[in-house]
Amino acid sequence: MNTVVLLTLTGLGLAALYFLVASGLSLVFGLADVLNFAHGLFLGVGAYATWWASGNLPGAGPDGFGFVLAVVFGVLAGSLVAVLVELVLIRPLYSRTIEQVLVTVGLSLAGVALLQATWGADPRPFPRPDWSRGVTSVLGAQVPNAGLLLIVAAAVVLGALLAFLRWTRYGLIIRAGVENREMVTALGIDVRKAFTLVFAIGGAAAALAGALGGVYFGTVSPGQGGSLLIFAFIVVVIGGMGSVVGSAYAAVAVGLLQQFVNYYGTSGLGDLCVVGLLAVVLLLRPQGLAGKVAHA
């Protein structure tokens, strides 16, 4: 029983990480048709900016309020980079989907290399607030606090995103744009502003994943975003592109499946099962996945 609780909660922690990366990916893809390989870079920027801020930014530090400030700095940095990427690199290629993918591919290669050039290829120890190193007893299981932090953060982000999509003007534009971008412009709306916004949101969520993932794993390294990104892609495809709720469900399914199978089977088998799940979903409803699922 303890094991099941522990596995569930660590699985949800993993799911939270996937969701933070996948939600932005899914919105960017759903609205702007951009398959963003540079999304992992936003995560890396968030992680390194948090790490840097905790050591260098006045007022920020590895613990308490200082750490919150460092994370805020990291999230802002990730968001800023995402906005710049959209404005400078993606926008000039508006609606040329393949070229946009190619540019994000180049960016992911060059960006990770740049992180590596600046801070080295080796993992660096990440600032971890004391509290996050401890464990909390949940139904008899000793669950790492860093994992719980991820779950809470992802839940808050999910709630905030849904509220944003449901209640704000831009949320409305994004939901409509995911369904039919052309018709949004035909109502007199400049949908490209919404693109920038979606990049900013996606970049912020990914950067948060980078910062909290750093706390969870205890280290930060340039390639961290890359491996997460592939599972985030899988989550996006399973969940239906453009759907935040779909991403949340799919992230939970993928996280739990991975965690349980890796524990009860051999290590690594869970990862394979996730890809198997993807194949099954594709075989059962291929058109449902290629087509966008259009709700928040």
Partner: protein, 242 residues
């Protein structure tokens, strides 16, 4: 001769290597309904989409389209629409996952009071069904929504693409009635296959054939000339007089 609200000159559109429009020229009168006719697949939708700047990617548009002194080509769609070009697309294209109210709200613009009273007077149904998802509306109701959201703002010209397509005869009459009232205050460029609706609404007609304009003139005159209508549109006289 009164100044036309829209003049299209030598409009040529290529999509995916197909030369769909090959130099189309016509004008839209500042009042009444100008109807754009032609057989299926001749390029009526392509013409409207080129005017609002929605030619698909890779497509090539040449020629000139002017609204007053202003050239429309090369300006982004959302600007054209803000400048008073209302577009009601073929197949309605309402946002199925959004509610009726949200569909309407999307058309609101900053600094402009949306004319909800006017729209709800025309379509009381839309007010009652505000919370219903647009995807679950009937075809006729969706068409009302597609027209209604365009009417929330003032327009200098409306482009309406086959508003009666696939609707039951009774609903066709309702849509025609609405368009008749709308056309009292704003000029309309209408694509319509239903000749009974054309007879009821149209003042001028433009007929496309093989990528070019084959006939322009008074719409009622065209309908009277059964043989001409038949050769241009490929419809029988029974249909014309039904």
């Amino acid at each position: 001769m009164v100044e036309p609200v829209l003049s299209v000159a030598d409009l040529s559109v290529r999509i995916a290597g197909l030369h769909i429009l090959q130099g189309v020229s016509f004008e839209v009168a500042p009042t009444g309904v100008t109807v754009l006719l032609g057989r299926n697949g001749v390029g009526k939708t392509t013409t409207l989409r080129a005017i609002v700047g929605l030619t698909p990617r890779g497509g090539e548009v040449r020629g000139s389209v002017r609204m007053g002194a202003r050239s429309l080509l090369a300006r982004p769609t959302h600007r054209l629409v803000r400048d008073g070009l209302g577009y009601v697309p073929e197949d309605r294209c309402v946002f199925a996952a959004l509610t009726v109210a949200e569909n309407l709200r999307l058309a609101e613009r900053r600094g402009v009071t949306p004319a909800y009273d006017k729209v709800f007077a025309l379509f009381p149904e839309l007010e009652r069904r505000g919370r219903q998802r647009a995807g679950s509306l009937s075809g006729g109701q969706q068409q009302m929504l597609a027209i209604g959201r365009v009417l929330l703002n003032d327009n200098r010209l409306l482009l309406v693409d086959e508003p009666t397509k696939g609707l039951a005869p009774k609903v066709v009459t309702e849509v025609a009635e609405v368009l008749e009232r709308v056309a009292e205050s704003v000029p309309v460029l209408l694509v319509e296959q239903n000749l009974a609706v054309v007879r009821r609404l149209a003042t001028d007609a433009v007929v496309l054939s093989a990528g070019k304009v084959a006939w322009t003139g008074d719409a009622q005159e065209l309908l009277l000339e059964t043989a001409l209508t038949k050769s241009l549109l490929g419809v029988g006289s029974a249909e014309v007089h039904s």
